[in-house]
Symmetry: C2
Subunit: 329 residues, 2 copies
């Protein structure tokens, strides 16, 4: 999940230099700088590029903005068949060039110290923002389209899946050594609609991605927030790892999925508001629930909050290494 | 779930007469009027009192308001042990008198035509609003308290559980023939914290409620939005019915729970944006998944949206009766 962010004073300073949030994403040097900041503070095992899931809708010309203290806003939401007809798959070497260049720059700056993870939003999650015009409480427009005109939504999702394939492949070719697909809003769907409007398009992406590049395997992690009920299908999608939020215990997930894929997760980010001892206990609990053996990527169950004290994250990172070593021994 | 609301023009008119939303809740005659409005339009099998889940925090003197087009706001959020020490269990015959009187009035106006359902928010859900000061995206304060000072949160939840018992018993004595507990935010918890910070307090309520009144059984329905993973424990809590959102198929719920409790649900409210034929199909699907036999209360998986066309709801209600009859025959 997101490593850089407003909880770090050095991030706040760099962001000020850039202007707004989107300016920061689009400034290669500064986006690289904020990507590296958490790695200077914490003993992390991987870097994740600093970017936003809405770069694709932005590259489609839909007009993306972030008001101060507000969520994202899409100026020209896509609500009709004719809106969808006008959409195109953005060429990553054109309007998404800034992300690709940032990936190259970070990879080169990392100099092999830790691997670099790229990411994208899932087609369904991107569609929620594109159709709603921003964040939503009830998904009125996008679910309205899903139930009233499913064919139109399928066309939109297909364009988005193609866009994600091109985008992630470009990230891989620029140096991303693993990629993650964030399906932040898959959990608001019913079992049937989750499978046909979200997971099927993540499958489509999986079959289009470069799973090997320059002789190295490129693992793909799928994460559906609120998707604990469907982890078996997610694990069967062809991905290499399943991201877990905190609503399922990792031992239960392992029992249900077996070891055919790795598991990533799954500490509630709110645990970072607790005392050092509680944080350490919680890390130990997740690690011991997973147990010994390979295939566990320790992670928060969602992005880190802006109000977290960075020292608490340091306690967590160190505890993960300590208990991780213990359990391997 | 909520039957009355902004999707009905007659509701909008009555609300204007009352002033704000909270004024409407507190005006017995007008709250009774809006409760009855959906029953005049649709062939419904039960009435649910028009009220809000935040009447208890309001009666605790925490200062509740609803800005136009905004969510609820608690003026004096409860964030410390000393804030919690000051709280008390509101006497339903005092500051909640208006709800109790409204229940009596509705019951008398219904004149036995359909049963009347009362309700309350769950202790955990009430605590989220009380501690956050309103709605929340990340539950920073309340989960912070949960992890940092669990004893304090347990004291708060205990006071809330006692308050809900007194409040629902007063509704039952005033004429509510079934009661529902809305745990709108239980689904943001982890398995362990759901059980100890939400379900345990709903259990406490269940053991304090009048389950029989004037020779009649008073069924209690528990509903945790996003709680599909935990329906077995919910069904084992001692409730009479489990409310389901749309993230689980009702046949799967029945398979997991058996017939020891009734099931309520579970159509995605967004289906009311679809065409009449799709709405009918969806109703038929839920009913046939449940199958013949008693113990199914057809319902939406959450409250009706304000932008729904009332005619669509009429199509749904009529379809439920038609297919309900079919499957019983």
């Amino acid at each position: 999940m997101r490593q850089a962010g407003r909880y770090l004073p050095e991030y706040q300073e760099t962001r000020k230099k850039a202007g707004g949030f989107l300016d920061l994403c689009k400034n290669r040097e500064l986006a690289c700088e904020v990507t590296l900041q958490p790695l200077r503070r914490f003993d992390l095992d991987a870097a994740i590029i600093f970017s936003d899931i809405l770069t694709i809708p932005d590259a489609m010309g839909l007009g993306l903005s972030f008001g101060e203290g507000e969520g994202p806003k899409i100026e020209r939401p896509v609500r009709s068949e004719s809106d969808i007809e006008k959409l195109f798959v953005p060429d990553p070497s054109d309007k998404l060039r800034y992300v690709i260049d940032t990936v190259s720059l970070i990879r080169s700056e990392l100099d092999g110290k830790v691997p670099l993870i790229g990411f994208s939003g899932s087609p369904w999650t991107l569609a929620t923002y594109i159709v709603e015009g921003g964040s939503s409480k009830d998904y009125h427009y996008v679910k309205g389209m899903m139930y009233e005109n499913p064919g139109a939504l399928h066309r939109l999702l297909d364009i988005l899946a193609q866009s994600v394939v091109a985008y992630l492949n470009a990230q891989i070719e620029a140096g991303a050594q693993a990629v993650m697909i964030f399906d932040t809003w898959g959990g608001v769907l019913s079992p049937q609609t989750y499978h046909s409007f979200s997971l099927d398009y993540m499958r489509q992406i999986l079959s289009g991605l470069r799973r090997e590049y320059e002789g190295q395997t490129i693992p793909v992690i799928l994460f559906t927030k609120g998707g604990a009920q469907w982890i078996e299908s997610i694990a069967d999608s062809g991905c290499d790892a399943v991201g877990l939020d905190w609503t399922i215990d990792i031992d239960e997930a392992k029992r249900r999925i077996g070891d055919r894929v790795a598991l990533q997760g799954n500490l509630d980010p709110c645990l970072l508001y607790a005392s050092p001892e509680t944080i350490r206990e919680a890390a130990r609990d997740v690690i011991s629930r997973f147990g010994p053996g390979p295939g566990h990527v320790f992670n928060l169950g969602h992005g880190i909050h802006q109000t977290v004290d960075p020292e608490r994250l340091e306690i967590l990172v160190d505890a993960v290494h300590e208990f991780g070593r213990d359990i391997r021994e």
